[in-house]
């Protein structure tokens, strides 16, 4: 019996010694990163979830892309698209573009890809091209996109991965056989593991240094953390709790934490059709009762910046002249008294705050509830499963709720969130906010191609929204990543993409 136990132990030790654990040492050409959820599709025309888009960005090439700050830059286009008319864009392609099978990438491929979105009902990304009227191939390298109406935000939609013209005609594509034009190509797809290999035909100047990228789907946060500690994964972005990040920063010499401001704005939404939250005085009092920095420090581990508008500070459209409403409890109480909401016993009135079952969101809701209690507003926090929560918010069965806007690149997001014609199910104006002056400005902001003019329009829009307070903008969350210290050249992108992995290598 003792001999058997010893043999088993020896086996385990031998297994460990023979390399069950990946090495942290230099010179590795394979990087393993963890994603917190499945990649639902490898068809760029269908990718609307974050993980599918991250893979798309590594495997496919697109007309334009975004730099680390989230600003548009040319992708396979020779330069950013040019407006030749109010409703027509001209785009020229770079020289020497090729798919991974060596075939040339031409304007016909670009046209076929976008044509399939134009005609293909049921393709998830068709919705982004509602204003596209036609695509014309002028020559092998030049295309013209004609819109139904002027739409300055259209350029930021030209990020769909380009497919070979033949594949673009098919509704279902086999991702492993599909020739692609990004820095990597798909090598294998398993239920929990996706392997990408360097695309030898990649024509960009930023050819990848790592030979293989292994994307592991690790859904449990504690498991992701354990895998980071053992070296089974080298990189996790955003999907680790902030408490864990703090522990890693203090204790683990093999790992480092990097962070940068992200394109994620968290807000507190109001239902403007509700008699209580429909009152501007109540909304203002709530805005003055919230101490954002306190919540950021305690619940978000300091990894966010207080917000007073939807747009992050790095956006060229951000209005820096807006004055933030900082916590002023006396002012909040006075506003409520003046509006006819006196204290009745322990509180003036009670509000319901619906949120999802995410632990951080529940903590935030409870923190806000405790802050509002100080001005006599009793808040009942109601966590609920996502499907039920979204249904209630879309149907207006809420008073307060909290959500965030993620990864938006153009200020036209204001139209989606606040225009009168964006009431659900047409858009995401879930607070049923309506302001004709804002509607006019939103239309103008969208139809104007002049950058300076747009900046001024969106500043005016931000001021109007700040005055009407359909949301209390809470904070812009930082992006953060825990990485193997040996990994060099990896930088965070504001929109969470892994584009900098092209430059990454192990030292």
């Amino acid at each position: 019996m003792n001999r058997l136990a010893r043999l088993c132990l020896l086996g385990l030790v031998a297994h460990t010694a023979l390399g069950s654990q990946p090495s942290f040492s230099a010179g590795r050409t394979k990087l393993t990163l963890a994603l917190e959820d499945s990649v639902r599709t490898f068809d760029p025309r269908q990718s609307v979830d974050a993980n599918s888009q991250y893979v798309e960005d590594l495997v496919h090439c697109s007309l334009i892309t975004f730099d680390a700050e989230g600003h548009s830059v040319p992708g396979i286009a020779a330069a950013l698209p040019r407006w030749i008319k109010d409703d027509t864009l001209e785009i020229s392609l770079r020289d020497g573009l090729r798919f991974s099978d060596g075939s040339p990438l031409t304007a016909q491929d670009v046209s076929a890809t976008y044509q399939s979105l134009l005609t293909g009902r049921g393709l998830a990304r068709s919705g982004s091209f509602a204003t596209l009227s036609s695509i014309k191939v002028k020559d092998q390298k030049t295309l013209e996109f004609r819109l139904k109406e002027p739409d300055a935000s259209f350029i930021t939609n030209l990020v769909v991965g380009i497919l070979p013209a033949k594949s673009a005609q098919e509704k279902l594509i086999d991702p492993l056989k599909l020739p692609t034009c990004g820095p990597y190509r798909l090598k294998s797809i398993d239920i929990n593991t996706i392997v990408l290999e360097k695309n030898p035909q990649y024509s960009g100047s930023d050819a990848p240094k790592l030979e293989l990228l292994e994307l592991k789907i690790v859904k449990n946060e504690k498991t992701r953390f354990a895998k980071l500690q053992t070296g089974e994964i080298d990189l996790v972005q955003n999907s680790i709790s902030r408490d864990t990040v703090k522990a890693i920063e203090k204790k683990n010499p093999r790992l480092s934490v990097i962070r940068r401001p992200g394109l994620k704005t968290t807000y507190l939404g109001f239902n403007l059709r509700d008699p209580l939250t429909g009152s501007l005085a109540v909304r203002e009092a709530i805005a003055y009762a919230i101490q954002k920095q306190e919540i950021i420090d305690i619940i978000l581990g300091g990894m966010a910046t207080p917000a007073n508008t939807l747009l992050p500070t790095q956006s060229p459209f951000y209005d820096s002249s807006l004055k933030p409403r900082t916590q002023d409890l006396e002012r909040a109480k006075k506003i409520l008294d003046a509006a006819g909401f006196p204290m009745k016993g322990e509180a003036r009135f009670e509000l319901s705050f619906k949120t999802t079952t995410d632990i951080t969101r529940i903590s935030v809701a409870k923190a806000i509830a405790s802050q509002l209690k100080k001005v006599g507003i009793k808040v009942k926090v109601e966590p609920m499963e996502w499907g039920r929560f979204k249904q209630d918010v879309d149907a207006g069965r809420v008073q307060l709720w909290s959500l965030n806007w993620v990864g938006f690149k153009d200020p036209d997001i204001y139209r989606h969130a606040f225009a009168t014609d964006s009431f659900p199910p047409n858009g995401a104006n879930r607070g049923w906010y309506t302001n004709p002056a804002l509607d006019t400005l939103l239309k103008k902001g969208r139809s104007t191609n002049n950058r300076e003019e747009r900046v001024n329009i969106y500043k005016e829009i931000q001021q109007l929204v700040d005055k009407d307070l359909p949301y209390v903008f809470l904070w812009h969350e930082d992006n953060f990543a825990v990485v193997n210290r040996g990994l060099q050249g990896f930088t965070l992108f504001a929109d969470g993409r892994y584009a900098s992995l092209r430059q990454a290598y192990f030292q």
Binding site: T41, A124, K219, T223, T230, W386, R388
Partner: protein, 307 residues
């Protein structure tokens, strides 16, 4: 025997149909829209309606259900709304992982519980018995969501002996099997002990001793064999539980099995996937029960299934 088998197999059909109808109704009653999950937040209303129509989700529930049952009768479990793959293909991809884990967990449970239960019964009332039963009570009381991460911390993070998660070589089976098998081992060891104690009081055990059989032979050949009949029933039922109840373990250990597919299906309101998983779960449960009934006659030849 054959008549019994056919009768039981025929009995599976109405049960599966009942399960199918209840699950289909329930999943459709849960708030949430698969079209939202597929198209995202920025899709136009027209696109959403077009997709809803293409997927048949705009049809009355009874119509959807009727059509689904018709397809299932022809062996077609439908197409996943999210992955755009046949549900059968998704299930086939995941079945081996779940079955392998269930078998390994059962082996772990049996390897622990049978010796523990037998020794505990033989040494009833001694320190050995108390220690064994303390383990049994603890095993039942410790939840998998706590034990799993603890095993990872000890064997993967601190000792570095085993991988944290994923299904790869033999070493990847150790922690999830231990995690799932421990609770079952605890329950089975208590049952083995009780059954052994009851059987040890029987006359035939005393007779075996009187005939001069060795103590080992008395315990294993006479007592344990007769005490194992109730165990077979429990093991059969528990194997069904292992096949269908690995959701937490699969989540903790990134196990690409049916449990994680079911959770994903529920989260994304992928109705065909949820229906397919539940149908498979109930079918496998019924099948395991049938096998258990058949095993009775092997363990105890006095039982005749035809009766």
């Amino acid at each position: 025997m054959l008549g019994f088998l056919l009768k039981r197999l025929a009995g599976l059909i109405p049960v599966c149909l009942g399960v199918l109808i209840i699950v289909a109704f329930m999943i459709h009653l849960v708030p949430g829209d698969p079209v939202d999950a597929i198209l995202g937040d920025y899709a136009s209303l027209e696109d959403k309606q077009a997709l809803r129509s293409a997927l048949g989700l705009d049809q009355p529930l009874l119509h959807q259900l009727g059509s689904y049952v018709g397809h299932v009768a022809q062996g077609d479990l439908g197409q996943s709304l999210i992955y755009q793959k046949p549900v059968t293909e998704l299930l086939i991809e995941r079945i081996p992982a779940t079955v392998q884990l269930a078998i390994c967990s059962l082996l772990v449970a049996l390897a622990i519980s049978i010796p523990l239960g037998v020794i505990s019964a033989v040494k009833a009332g001694t320190a050995v018995d108390y220690v064994a039963m303390t383990f049994a009570v603890s095993g039942v009381a410790i939840p998998t969501f706590w034990l799993g991460p603890l095993l990872i911390l000890l064997f993967a993070v601190h000792l570095g002996w085993l991988p944290v998660s994923e299904r790869a070589d033999w070493s990847s089976f150790v922690l999830p099997s231990l995690s799932m098998g421990t609770a079952l081992a605890a329950a089975l060891s208590r049952m083995t002990r009780n059954s052994m104690l009851d059987t040890m009081k029987e006359d035939f055990v005393r007779t075996a001793r009187a005939k001069g059989c060795s103590e080992f032979s008395v315990i294993m050949n006479h007592t344990f064999r007769n005490a194992s009949l109730p165990l077979v029933t429990v093991i059969g039922l528990q194997f069904g539980v292992l096949l269908t109840g690995a959701i937490v373990t699969e989540r903790i250990f990134d196990w690409p099995g049916l449990g994680s597919l079911l959770i994903e299906g529920i989260n994304t309101r992928d109705y065909p996937v949820v229906q397919g998983c539940v149908l498979l779960f109930s079918g496998s449960y019924l099948f395991v029960n049938l096998i258990t009934d058949l095993t009775y006659s092997l363990v105890d030849p006095r039982i005749r299934l035809s009766s």
